[in-house]
Amino acid sequence: MPEVFIDGKSYEFEGQPKLLQFIMDEGLELPFFCYHPSMSIPANCRQCMVKVGQPVKDRDTGEYELDENGERVIRWFPKLQTACNFDVTDGLVVKTQESDELVERAQKDNLEFILINHPLDCPICDQAGECPLQIQTYKYGPEGSRFEVKKVHKPKRVQLGPRVILDAERCINCTRCTRFADEISKSYQLTITKRGDKNYPTTAPGETFDDPYSLNTVDLCPVGALTSADFRFRARVWEMNQTPSIDVSNGKGCNIDIWTRDNQVLRITPRHNPHVNDYWMPDVGREIYPLFNDNRISRPSVILDGENQIKSSWNNAIETFGEQMEAIKPEEILAIGSAHASVEENYLFAKFGNLLGISTPLFTPHIEPGSGDGFLITDDQAPNTNGVRLLGFEETDSKQLKTAVKSSNAKMILLLSDHLIDRGVLSADDLSGKYLVMFATNESETTKKADLLFPITCVVEHAASYVNVDGRIQRSFPAKETKYTNRRLDLEMTEGRLDRYGTKFDNWVTDENKVDCLPVWDLMALIGGRLGLDITYEGGSREVIKEVSQNMPAFSGVTYERMDDELGIELDTEHQTVKS
């Protein structure tokens, strides 16, 4: 196999890798700014300079020429080369900053140039803490500055579009944002304007940067030049917890990170998954984060006198549910599952009904034809349509569901997390005279009609899995504590700096943002207990998915461990009706 020598060590390689990517894949380090593995290589930041040489071969024999010590004779390139666009070839000798003073000096020189016109306003910059320029300056940059003249001034606080704000002075002109708009989102809305040290990215005059993927440029920006209009100045990076999760705003299931502080979700960023979303996600997926913080249902509610919904204790709510169930026959109960809820929740919902003799739950897909873009925005507005299908729920449309709900047979309706009135599937009248039991996360017109309302955890509060439009099952992690969970005790939860180094008595810690809700598996155990059913899962959702994988052929072999290791699992949906 061909080999390359980096800092005196030999590495084997296959194919035609570029040097910078190869160095990173081998776990070595080289500073860079403009390079991005999913976009073209402009080699403009000039930061990844290395010294490279080719071994000299004898023209006649094709053998490597050797010097008096028996070492290969190396013909060094006269100039340092950027590693990002340099092809790795057999026998190539590379010296990085680790083994060559000139390379180390060149990288330092380059950072000095980048920094002379950079405002160095890290203390008020949103990027600080996750800033490649900051990190690499600490590692490879010069100490102090020799720049004693005036910096270049450029436009600041420019609203490029509804979601992105530009500080041109911070820009280091890496062109990642313009390349993103040209090559990935293909909106062609950004360009570099002016020349030399006066240049910066902008839109054409009068144009707005309203690309539906515009916020990806904020993630791409290696400095704080592009910031999110919504997130800027909201939190320092090191104050937040970063938790992997899945985008539930549509059916693609983009892999994301949830950023929380004090049990509030403050922002959502994409997480790399080459099988689903690469490094990107649509802006809408980021903008739904208030759903996880605001308007949450906390504590159960019951309708007492036929009109007013009032908060109730869990015991009272469960007792009320038990009494209602005892007064009704299973065939008079209609169960409606939801493509907005996870596989585990729907499975338990169906299992609960099954144990009581209630017929298979129905569900109505939430698909809006024409709203997708063929990239990361899908027609499907729900994250788990395929999951519900694979669980064998009966798929209905609005008309069929109306008929089923209105039929005189149905006296009680069990509804899982689907705001049917709000999305126009049912009208409030359709539900009149029915006893509606709803399990939901957020308040809506539909939840207002619930005679009995159980608050359940949402995607950022539990570990649960969702099957995307392509039949890939992926899962979330708990990112927010509820009233009943504890970050320090739940091993699934991440700990941020504040969790690790702060104490419960620090003045920034508050319990106010914890919602009084239960995961469906815990709630079912309580309800089941009241009704004499044994539905307990000591291991929570992890145990639920284990049971799903044992009972449902489509889910065979699915575990959280595998989903974590393989970035989700493509389900065998061959014999199932899976539409995207």
Binding site: N44, N110, E112, F113, I114, I192, G196, D197
Partner: protein, 427 residues
């Protein structure tokens, strides 16, 4: 050694009135070379071999053998191939190509057609700097004449060879004179130099094989075809043969463009050709090939002639043979600041060392110019030139760094005298 330069008769811009008119040009033997190469006696290969043998070294500054460059074009694959002619001359001190546009456009057109034939190009673009509005018009009318006579277009002179020829105005950016940046500009994009490899011969305009030649280089081609490579090789300096358009500017009595063989002694050019230094002043320095080439002090010029070897030995470069003559009253700090200002203004901003380095150089030089500089600033300047040179995609950073380094090194006393005493102790 070739004959004395004083007996040389101009061939690029001969003294024939109205030569820009195609009839006059034809009457004086014009387009004969084209007819010759399109005849059965010549093949595309033999044209390239002849031009390679003549050793026409690129007149745009890099001095690369034109025929050799042509031979890098891959075999035709049926797709489009391009010849891009670089008429974007915008370096201070360089103003030779416009003489060809104005006085002998058909010589350049004929040379381009021969080049296009040799490389089997289907389209020729001539990229002319945007400030040359009048010269773009001149080129357009010359091209129209050549189209009318059937020298350009479909099935030229019944040979089966077809080519189209377009002018393309620049938009005022020096960087678009850099060959790959010019290709970007021709494609309608922002003038950013491209990363090489791939080289234009492999992936040029719209990803297709492209060769880029300077206007003056191409104008030499018909001369080589008509008179033979040996004739050409015997003109001027051995390693850099042929006629050269010397653009002489600055403090001389008769500035202008003069066609002479290569290798004319620098002092002869100043004293005899350009009528000596203005107002009887003493010569202080010469920038021999456009503002990016290192300045030479008057005392470095003895025996130095305008060919690449001689100038390299003296510590400079031939560049585009645009001499800037500097008299004894010139403030070198002022001059260097003005050059640095130019490169700061013209840096495209793509690569970090050039984008930020050119600005820094200018700002320090301005400080020194205003008497606020310190001696340590000179060392910082020299340091910055090393930090910029060879670290960027194109050579603009080098072009910005060289004048600074060499002007400071060659006039260090003058610079130090302008600096105030350093507040820092010098060890």
């Amino acid at each position: 050694m070739a004959a004395d330069w004083r007996s040389f008769k101009p061939v690029l811009i001969p003294d024939i009135p109205n030569l820009d008119d195609i009839d006059v040009y034809i009457k004086n033997g014009g387009y004969e070379a084209l007819k010759k190469v399109l005849s059965d006696d010549w093949t595309t290969k033999s044209v390239i071999e002849e031009v390679k043998a003549a050793n026409i070294r690129g007149r745009g500054g890099a001095g690369f053998n034109a025929g050799l460059k042509w031979s890098f074009m891959p075999e035709p694959d049926g797709g489009p191939r391009y010849l891009a002619c670089n008429g974007d001359e915008s370096e201070p001190g360089t103003f030779k190509d416009r003489m060809l546009f104005e006085y002998n456009p058909h010589l350049f057109i004929e040379g381009s057609l021969i080049a296009a034939y040799a490389m089997q190009c289907s389209t020729i673009y001539v990229y002319i700097r945007g400030e040359y509005i009048d010269w773009i018009k001149m080129m357009d009318s010359a091209l129209n004449q050549a189209y009318e006579k059937g020298f350009i277009g479909e099935n030229i002179l019944g040979s089966g060879f077809s080519v189209n020829f377009y002018t393309h105005p620049g938009a005022g950016a020096y960087i678009c004179g850099e060959e790959t940046s010019m290709l970007e500009s021709l494609e309608g994009k922002r003038g950013y130099p491209r990363v090489k490899p791939p080289f234009p011969a492999q992936k040029g305009l719209w990803g297709r094989p492209t060769t880029i030649n300077n206007i003056e280089t191409l104008a030499n081609v018909p001369l080589v075809i008509n008179n033979g490579a040996d004739w050409f090789k015997n003109i001027g300096a051995e390693n850099h043969p042929g006629p050269i358009l010397y653009g002489i500017s600055g403090h001389v009595n008769q500035p202008g463009v003069y066609e002479l063989p290569s290798g004319v002694p620098v002092l002869d050019l100043i004293d005899e050709v350009a009528g000596g230094v203005k107002n009887g002043k003493k010569l202080k320095a010469v920038i021999p090939g456009g503002s990016s080439t290192p300045v030479l002090r008057a005392d470095q010029l003895d025996g130095v002639s305008m060919d690449s070897n001689s100038l390299r030995e003296a510590g400079s470069m031939l560049g585009t043979a645009g001499l800037v003559v500097i008299d004894e009253d010139t403030d070198m700090i002022d001059l260097l600041w003005r050059i640095a200002h130019f490169y700061h203004h013209e840096s495209c901003g793509q690569c970090t060392p050039c984008r930020d380095g050119t600005g820094w150089l200018e700002k320090i030089l301005l400080k020194i110019k205003n008497g606020e500089g310190e001696v340590k600033d000179l060392d910082l300047l020299l340091d910055l030139t090393t930090q910029m040179e060879g670290r960027t995609i194109c050579a603009l950073a080098d072009a910005a760094a060289w004048p600074v380094r060499h002007t400071i090194n060659r006039f260090r006393d003058e610079f130090e005298a302008r600096c105030k005493k350093s507040v820092h102790a010098i060890a």
